[in-house]
């Protein structure tokens, strides 16, 4: 009989996934306490991390606060900037006579849609302003380049909800340093050369190139696309989703600022292109840009040129990096005594910045349900797989919805709209929403990755054909709706007076910490 208690955790692979999981586990399990679980991370000194995930969700604020990392330290170390949402340019339709269309998916709304949903009132109104502009003060803040907080706010507290843009390599570095120095994570720098299973098919140990073996009771596979443990050793199959999300490559270019004091957009820009879309993320020291595309519809050279044209003259002489993307997920994320977190578990294209968010979510569930007894493994395995199967599928549906609602007519976009590529689950909700507003009851799962309001920002931003006028009489709280719409405008004005630009805020953060009271 193997050891009954789970006392040793080995995380294979560093990067954002490895170090974030290590830090969360060590904090949650109090690794510096007596008789506590020991967390060890083995990272290859030779394999570079992918490190293009540069956008987070607002959940990152809670993650950092819980770990005990000071917000100003994090921002300065990771060249981070503050993000209030995503601006989708030309997604609804290709620019017509030079006029482009855009819409925002923002983090704050003036009314909690689950309490009072403004969407039907906007839909039935004159639409003199866009959905985002009608229901969120962040629309103005984004348009004016303002930050969601000022120096009077406490750490991780804002006047509006926010997330971060960050340098993923530096973020992993910060987490590594913090996890080792402050949280008691043990670090081994080595390449894993072999994985050994016990007679029951559980992972027993891994060999490393120093000639040692590392034994553990629970293994976390953060080895990236290679999926050394879950894929290679435990033979959990990979389910490709390229029949749903058609993009399969990205080409990335980092663009320095001409003027170091240039303002920084407080949102991610996603600009639709002939065969995909371009991300544009402003950090404090540079922009990160990249074209996510499907190689079937554009060749690599043209794709790179498209990105260079987008950047403009600043692109001259800058190196481009081609990243093949294999979108899909493992049929199980947890098998026996091994759980995969990060790219080893799944990868969907970066459209809604779900990568880091789903790492946080996976690590949270692992921490909360951490099986200290080996006998508890099957239960946790089942719960974890069920939960993340749901979450990844919802994420895929949500991303697919952006493509499916587009009216663009290039072959790539038409292919995305072909019904054979659209999950049944997405078609079902869209059929409902064509004649009924989005409802909180459409989102009954407590771990729904994207909330009701996210769907509404995208649906109404994309001009989804929702028919409500036949049922207008049931939307009979117009006075209250009007009060909210007015509140959005008043709040915008108030915040515009209070908030600095994203750049001005970051300049101050370089010199001063946020006060904790």
């Amino acid at each position: 009989m193997t050891q009954q208690q789970i006392n040793q955790v080995l995380i294979v692979g560093g990067g954002t996934a490895g170090w974030l999981t290590a830090a969360k586990l060590a904090k949650h399990l109090n690794c510096q306490g007596t008789n506590s679980v020991q967390v060890t991370l083995v990272e290859s000194p030779d394999i570079p991390t992918i490190g293009v995930g540069e956008g987070t969700w607002p959940t990152m604020r809670k993650t950092l606060a819980e770990l005990g990392i000071a917000e100003a330290d994090f921002i300065n170390h990771c060249n981070a900037s503050l993000k209030q949402g995503t601006k989708f340019v030309n997604w609804k339709e290709a620019p017509q006579q030079g006029i482009s269309h855009h819409y925002y998916h923002l983090f704050s709304s003036v009314s909690d849609a689950a309490e009072f949903n403004l969407a039907p009132y906007w839909q039935l109104g004159d639409k003199s302003c866009s959905y985002a502009q009608a229901i969120s003060a962040q629309y103005q803040l984004c348009e004016l380049g303002l930050a969601p907080k000022n120096m009077l706010n406490k750490p991780f507290e804002g006047m509006q909800n926010y997330a971060y843009h960050l340098d993923a390599g530096k973020f992993a570095g910060l987490l590594k340093q913090f996890a080792i120095a402050k949280l008691g994570v043990k670090f081994v720098s080595a390449n894993v050369t072999a994985v050994h299973l016990d007679p029951q098919g559980y992972i027993a140990s891994v060999d490393i190139d120093h000639g040692d073996s590392l034994h553990a009771d629970l293994f976390v596979d953060c080895s990236g696309f290679r999926s050394l443990l879950l894929g290679d050793a435990l033979k959990v199959p990979f389910k490709n989703i390229q029949d749903v999300l058609l993009t399969d490559h990205a080409v990335a270019i980092q663009v320095p600022y001409d003027d170091p004091q240039q303002n920084i957009a407080s949102y991610t820009t996603s600009t639709a292109q002939e065969a995909g879309w371009i991300w544009d993320i402003g950090l404090s020291n540079r922009r990160g840009t990249g074209y996510v595309y499907c190689a079937k519809y554009v060749d690599h050279a043209t794709a790179e040129q498209t990105l260079r044209d987008y950047i403009g003259p600043a692109a001259e002489g800058l190196a481009a990096r081609l990243i093949p993307m294999n979108c899909g997920y493992r049929e199980q994320f947890w098998s026996k005594n091994c759980v995969a977190i990060g790219l080893s578990a799944a990868f969907v294209e970066p459209l809604e910045a779900s990568a880091i968010f789903l790492i946080e979510a996976s690590a949270n569930m692992l921490c909360e349900l951490f099986p200290r007894q080996r006998s508890l493994l099957p239960y946790v395995e089942q719960k974890f797989n069920q939960s993340f199967n749901f979450r990844w599928n919802k994420t895929i549906d949500f991303i697919k919805m952006h493509y499916f609602l587009s009216q663009r007519t290039e072959p790539f976009w038409l292919a995305n709209k072909a019904l054979v590529t659209v999950p049944e689950s997405l078609l079902t909700v869209l059929a409902q929403w064509q004649y009924h507003p989005v409802s909180k009851y459409d989102f009954s799962h407590v771990f729904e990755p994207f909330p009701q309001e996210s769907y509404q920002y995208v649906l109404h931003g994309m001009g989804f054909d929702q028919q409500l006028s036949y049922n207008a009489s049931s939307f009979n709280q117009q006075t209250q709706a009007d009060q909210y719409f007015e509140k959005t405008q008043k709040m915008s004005q108030y915040l515009v007076d209070k908030l600095p630009t994203n750049r001005a805020l970051l300049n101050n953060v370089e010199q001063y910490p946020f006060q904790s009271v």
Partner: protein
């Protein structure tokens, strides 16, 4: 708006500074900065509390002069009413500013838009030969000394925040007429936290001379009700 100019014998040869015993520049300010050295004295008349600088978010020590923005209860009919004058108020319209040509040095400047700055009335900055008047040199020295005292005040505030000794406080004040005022954005010494402070930390504060100003600030909170009574 202030118009800050470095003082030179060429630009400011004919400039005089009016006498300003009633600190009229503060008549629309409900607060003024104070330094740690004057906590005990200032606390006899004003609530001595803390605010966050709106640009940097860092704490500053202030004496509260009024209970509404733009209201200074200590100037009545154009006359300063309190016994004590916070030092920062006495140096107006002079300020120190960084020399743009030399980062390490500071320049003595004045606010040329101040109503105290004129060519007819008051004390001249320079004599007929263009020599700086002795009183102006003294002002310069006073300003330099004030900068140093400010640095000590910042260290004091850092010691307070390091020990979690500041807490936000909304002042709700009832005037004798029964009118309620509420003033936000103020921070005060957290007495409960102070009482629970461990001995080594307390001892460090004592050795650095920070205990007296802490208690001065705590006791000055009693002045809030006098301010309320001063309101018409």
């Amino acid at each position: 708006m202030a118009n800050i100019q470095p003082i030179t014998s060429t630009t400011h040869a004919a400039i005089k500074i009016k006498n300003n015993p009633h600190l009229l520049q503060s008549k629309n300010s409900h607060m003024t900065p104070v330094i740690i050295h004057e906590f005990a004295t200032a606390a006899q008349e004003f609530p001595v509390v803390f605010i966050k600088d709106p640009d940097t978010g860092q704490f500053r020590a202030i004496a509260l002069l009024g209970l509404n923005p733009n209201q200074n209860l200590f100037i009545k009919n154009g006359e300063w009413q309190a016994q004590y004058i916070p030092e920062a108020l006495t140096i107006y319209p002079f300020v120190l500013s960084n020399d743009t040509n030399n980062n390490d040095s500071l320049l003595l400047c004045l606010d040329a838009d101040s109503s105290l700055v004129n060519e007819q009335e008051g004390a001249a900055l320079f004599d007929e030969k263009g020599q700086q008047m002795p009183w102006l040199a003294e002002k310069g020295e006073q300003l330099v000394s004030l900068v140093e005292k400010n640095q000590l005040t910042e260290m004091f505030i850092k010691a307070l925040t390091d020990n979690d000794l500041l807490k936000p406080q909304t002042l709700t004040i009832q005037t004798p007429q029964g009118k309620d005022y509420s003033l936000n954005g103020l921070y005060v010494i957290d007495q409960q936290q102070l009482d629970q402070l461990d001995d080594p930390s307390y001892s460090v504060l004592r050795q650095r001379g920070f205990i007296a100003p802490i208690y001065a600030s705590l006791m000055s909170m009693q002045r809030v009700k006098f301010l309320a009574a001063m309101q018409e």
